[in-house]
């Protein structure tokens, strides 16, 4: 396996864009990425698209060549990857595998979702398709309700509180206010976070990520070749994808996600580092409780300690382990298929000291964790300076 680097990145702002369609968002991100990498579309040898539910959200199937040809990428393999909210991370993982194995020398990954053309009720229904439709979803579960049940159990087993959850929302909104591309650039107070209207108890409006439109792209090359295109390539030091049951009621313990633990352990081993070495991370905060569970499954803290760790300020920009300096899914937005790729774009920018107001001081080793469904898919990536 040869070393692989990200040579360039590009993305659209995240938000609700009534006048933009799925393809135009994907093309904007892809074109920005190729331009930033000084690569022409004819040099791209394979195209991977991360997209969760384009066929349901906008009625379009066969999305990979639909987008690659609009980018001027012809003839080469164009493949869509679907792994619920981990679609973007999974597309990246498969692109990495193809470059690392020596099959391709220049691969473009785009993640995209166009969600806001549907009503909230319909979006809820489409997202529920990432759960087990023959059981939990048929019983009336929604994605907020699945994570609400995880939160209830976490509170019961470990004493996690509503204030711990709210601390995640307050922190990520404060970070999002510094991100010019964030869907919601507005700080919120602890009182607001605690008093959002109920969605699925104990989760309220401010515990839930946003329904957004957006796209993100990265360009992968063998590490030695990437140097011909940029003087600041970012190495993929470790990466792994893992899987688990789709239905929450099949998991022995819903307060931990084995897929996250397995992906993290493999990625740490590949990078030859441990969780303490990670300086900052972009975690999959689809709901506030998800960031708390992720801190534990990535072994940043012991099991059950995620809530107090958040409340201590350790995960703030100024803390010992800044989490979601971009604002996370909570404030940056969560266009599902774009999310996993956007996390990598944000870490790429941090490592290259190009993150503007979001720039962190300790920025040479970052981790991205992209979760699908209620833990059935997970991709963990570790990026660092070459």
């Amino acid at each position: 396996m040869r070393p692989v680097a990200i040579a360039a990145a590009g993305k659209t702002p995240f938000g609700a864009f009534q006048d933009r369609d799925l393809r135009s968002l994907a093309v904007e991100a892809g074109e920005k990425c190729l331009k930033n990498g000084h690569v022409s579309s004819s040099q791209v040898e394979a195209f991977y698209l991360g997209n969760f539910a384009g066929p349901s959200f906008v009625g379009q199937n066969h999305l990979a060549p639909y987008i690659s040809t609009a980018l001027g990428i012809y003839d080469v393999p164009a493949t869509r990857i679907e792994a619920a909210c981990a679609s973007g991370g999974s597309a990246f993982f498969h692109a990495f595998s193809a470059v690392a194995s020596g099959i391709y020398d220049c691969v473009l990954v785009v993640g995209v979702e166009k969600m806001t053309s549907q009503s909230t009720a319909r979006v809820t229904e489409i997202l529920a398709g990432a759960g087990d439709c023959s059981g939990e979803i048929k019983a009336g579960s929604t994605f907020p309700s699945l994570f609400a049940m995880i939160a209830r159990r976490h509170m019961y087993q470990f004493g996690t509180t509503r204030e711990h959850l709210a601390a995640v929302a307050v922190k990520n909104h404060a970070n999002g206010a510094l991100n010019p591309d964030a869907h919601m650039r507005k700080a919120i107070t602890m009182e607001q976070a605690l008093n959002g209207r109920p969605v699925a108890e104990p989760l309220g409006l401010y515990d839930c990520s946003l329904v957004s439109d957006g796209a993100a792209a990265v360009l992968l090359m063998p590490a030695d070749r990437a140097r011909d295109f940029t003087n600041k390539p970012v190495r993929i030091l470790g990466i792994a994808q893992a899987s688990d049951f789709v239905a929450l009621d099949q998991k022995p313990d819903i307060t931990t996600f084995p897929a996250v633990r397995r992906a993290a352990q493999k990625a740490y081993a590949m990078a030859g580092i441990g969780p303490k070495d990670i300086q900052f991370a972009e975690l999959h905060d689809c709901f506030t409780i998800a960031e708390i569970v992720a801190l534990e499954d990535l072994e940043f803290v012991e099991r059950g300690c995620g809530g107090p760790y958040e409340a201590s300020g350790a995960t703030a920009r100024s803390g010992e382990k800044p989490i979601n300096a971009s604002g996370g899914l909570k404030a940056k937005g969560h266009p599902v298929g774009a999310t996993g790729v956007a996390q990598l774009c944000d870490i790429f920018a941090q490592i290259r000291c190009e993150a503007g107001d979001m720039q962190l001081k300790r920025n040479s080793l970052g981790l991205a964790q992209n979760l699908g469904g209620s833990g059935a898919s997970c991709v963990v990536s570790i990026l660092g300076n070459v």
């Binding site: 059981g135 969605v199 699925a200 108890e201």
Partner: protein, 66 residues
């Protein structure tokens, strides 16, 4: 059978919109297996004993055992 976890849903897809707020539970059966269902009547909390009242379209509906 006891309640393993629960939530009360306030925002639902169209198919369930008329029923909100409603309670969803994961119940642990005597054999240790789990199933997702709904609650009839009084709301339940974790560890409450429940009994299955009926099966509607494959979905079990539970009630708290007093």
């Amino acid at each position: 059978m006891t309640v393993y976890t629960e939530t009360v849903v306030h925002l639902a897809p169209e198919a369930f919109a008329k029923e909100v707020p409603y309670q969803v539970v994961i119940v642990t059966r005597e054999d240790g297996s789990r199933v997702t269902g709904r609650v009839i009547g009084e709301r339940v909390v974790i560890d409450d004993p429940v009994e299955q009242m009926e099966l509607r379209d494959g979905v079990p509906f539970f009630r708290k055992v007093k």
